[in-house]
């Protein structure tokens, strides 16, 4: 990864001496969708504000597109689009007027601003309500208007804070689709969320936050291997006599659990789907179902913190 757009080293934030973000380091590559995940109050928003130069950095450093947000905040803010948690717009102005204001703050020429604005509003599906006051907008529409603002800015990095919180499932799916599309515009995306599973589907890599620290960092499958270990869960359904024993005999299978009639869950140390299929069919049985269950982010997260707790209990 030669072209990093965000590099944070030992980034620390203290409020009145109390550390909120405790020396985190991470980097985001160009064109990547990077997730900052963790419970509320874990330090995600503070980290984001430090990257934008909107709050002071107590210690450590961060570079955004090579600029220092402390000394060159205007350069950073010119190139980075930010969608705050529960974004607000001026309610008495229309969607277009709100975006025009942003366009002028960025310094776009009027005609340039109008055409870019139209494209951006088209892109997020708000072209019908351009001249409606924002006070009539739903939460999902405001979030999309926020994304339109980032598109208008032609930002190289989009920082989205809790973009899907408070949205209904349909609006969430639409928004995640728009976020995925940002990647096609060659925009790097950094998003924060406490909804692990929703976000798992769009993120290339994630950092799991816990109490101001980054607990884990990497792609979801990588994290799965790190935390849950090289174990795969296989879900097998089949008919035949003595399948139980046959499944146990497959090399690589460490445990066979009977879930129900003709239904087993296998723990294996590698992907042995082909061998399992061969074993079932070879013994004259019928294979009805064979599926590999990849670990979800939620499973990784809960497992990690259970391990942590147990570790600390042992240590104590």
């Amino acid at each position: 990864m030669s072209n990093l757009v965000i590099e944070a080293q030992n980034l620390t934030k203290r409020y009145d001496g109390v550390p909120v973000v405790k020396g985190i380091s991470f980097s985001v590559a160009q064109g990547e969708i990077f997730g900052l995940l963790g419970p509320n109050g874990a330090g995600k928003t503070t980290t984001i504000l430090m990257m934008l130069g909107l709050t002071e950095i107590s210690d450590g450093r961060v570079r955004v597109l090579g600029y220092d947000p402390v000394r060159e905040p205007l350069q950073v803010k010119r190139r980075v689009g930010y969608l705050p948690d529960a974004v607000g717009f001026y309610d008495h102005l229309t969607a277009a007027e709100n975006l025009r204001y942003t366009g002028r703050l960025i310094g776009l020429r009027r005609d340039e601003c109008e055409s870019k604005m139209r494209t951006a509003l088209d892109h997020v599906g708000l072209h019908d309500v351009t001249d409606r006051r924002v006070s009539t907008f739903s939460r999902g529409m405001r979030q999309r208007l926020g994304i339109a603002e980032i598109l208008l800015k032609e930002a190289q990095i989009a920082i989205l804070d809790e973009p899907t919180s408070g949205l209904d499932p349909q609006a969430t799916i639409e928004l995640l689709e728009i976020i995925r599309n940002l990647k096609n515009h060659n925009v790097s995306v950094l998003l924060s969320s406490h909804l692990l599973d929703r976000v798992q589907s769009v993120c290339d890599r994630v950092a799991l936050f816990s109490q101001g620290n980054i607990a884990l960092i990497g792609s979801v499958p990588e994290l799965g291997r790190q935390v849950i270990g090289d174990s795969f869960d296989l879900d097998v359904e089949g008919e035949g006599s003595g399948l139980d024993a046959k499944l146990k005999a497959v090399p690589g299978v460490t445990l066979v659990e009977t879930v129900g009639l003709n239904h087993w869950r296998l723990k294996t140390d590698r992907d042995v789907r082909a061998d399992v299929a061969a074993a079932v069919v070879g013994s004259g049985g019928k294979l009805l179902r064979l599926s590999l269950e990849a670990p979800t982010l939620e499973a990784i997260y809960t497992r990690y913190f259970r391990n942590e707790r147990e570790g600390s209990r042992h240590a104590a």
Partner: protein, 322 residues
């Protein structure tokens, strides 16, 4: 550590947006109504009085402002009305951005906080300036058509200077209201604090300060020196209120015969200020009048700068997140 880029970047855009917000708001309608009604009432009342006195006064136009009756003097009305306008425009300038959750979005655009705060102040001041100028024109226009005497240049210059001073006075209160809008997240609290301070400073302080001086520095001797000293002491205490400064300036500006800001108090005690070699009651040239009240003008402008700077420092250090 030095930050890069101009703090003024985006100032024009912010000012323009805020100004258009003000001008199209319902609040502006109320303000305009207040201002026009006040202007008309002042002219009507003062015309009544001017017709009774001489028509040979060389400063007839200025008398419109000064001779508006005992119960409703122009200066008194303005000392009360102007702060009300400024507080009405300023009490929710910054906290409404917090409450609408627009602050972090706007500050993530390539501007500094300086531009946002200063732009809001300028737009508010411009709005008040527009209203007060309209009022000034209503008063002068009505007076001219009613009196039928063309004003001379000196009169117009004095009236124009008074307008400028009134706008500066509004600046003090706007900066104060904006300071409260930075300090308090709730607009209602900010408005209440600003109005409370306005009430205290404009109505209670003039009464209280007199008693305070009498307690701290009991009047003893009856020599002229001691009398003048105690008068100055009273004045110094009263001047802690921006309304007192404003009243002194306007009184001197609008009456060319005023030679001192203590003249009216002395007159109330049956004394007159006599300068050797001058004719009592003779009008001073404009420049001389301005020299008398120059410190007060500087005080008003300085006051608004100090209040703005306090608000600025607090705002710079404030966290963006709600």
């Amino acid at each position: 550590m030095q930050r890069e880029g101009s703090p003024w970047r985006g100032l024009g855009v912010v000012t323009q947006k805020e100004l258009s917000d003000h001008l199209s708001s319902a609040r502006m309608l109320v303000i305009q109504l207040l201002v026009v009604v006040t202007g008309v009432v002042i002219v009507l009342v003062s015309l009544q009085q001017i017709r009774d006195i001489t028509a040979e006064d060389p400063f007839l136009l200025l008398r419109v402002f000064t001779r508006s009756g005992e119960q409703l003097s122009f200066v008194f009305v303005m000392t009360l009305l102007v702060p009300l306008l400024a507080i009405g425009l300023g009490f929710d300038l910054v906290n409404s951005e917090h409450n609408q959750r627009t602050l972090s979005r706007i500050l993530s655009q390539p501007i500094y906080r300086d531009a946002l705060l200063f732009g809001k102040f300028l737009a508010g001041l411009a709005t008040i300036a527009i209203s007060l100028t309209a009022m000034w024109m209503v008063v002068i226009g009505l007076a001219l058509s009613a009196l039928g005497v063309p004003p001379n240049g000196e009169e117009l210059a004095r009236a124009a200077l008074m307008l400028v001073v009134t706008i500066a006075y509004a600046g003090v209160w706007l900066a104060l209201a904006m300071l409260f809008s930075v300090l308090f997240r709730s607009p209602a609290t900010a408005a209440l604090c600003a109005l409370g301070l306005w009430l205290f400073v404009s109505i209670l302080w003039p009464l209280l300060s007199g008693h305070l001086v009498n307690v701290l520095f009991p009047p003893s001797a009856t020599t002229a020196d001691a009398l003048l000293n105690s008068l100055s002491m009273h004045q110094a205490f009263r001047r802690l209120s921006p309304g007192a400064l404003f009243a002194e300036i306007v009184t001197v500006l609008l009456d060319p015969a005023m030679r001192s800001t203590q003249q009216s108090q002395l007159a109330a005690m049956g004394l007159a200020l006599v300068e050797p070699g001058s004719i009592p009651g003779a009008p001073l040239p404009l420049l001389e009048s301005v020299l008398i009240i120059w410190p007060q003008m500087v005080g008003l402008i300085g006051g608004s700068i100090v209040l703005f700077v306090i608000g600025y420092v607090v705002f710079q250090r404030q966290e963006v997140r709600a």
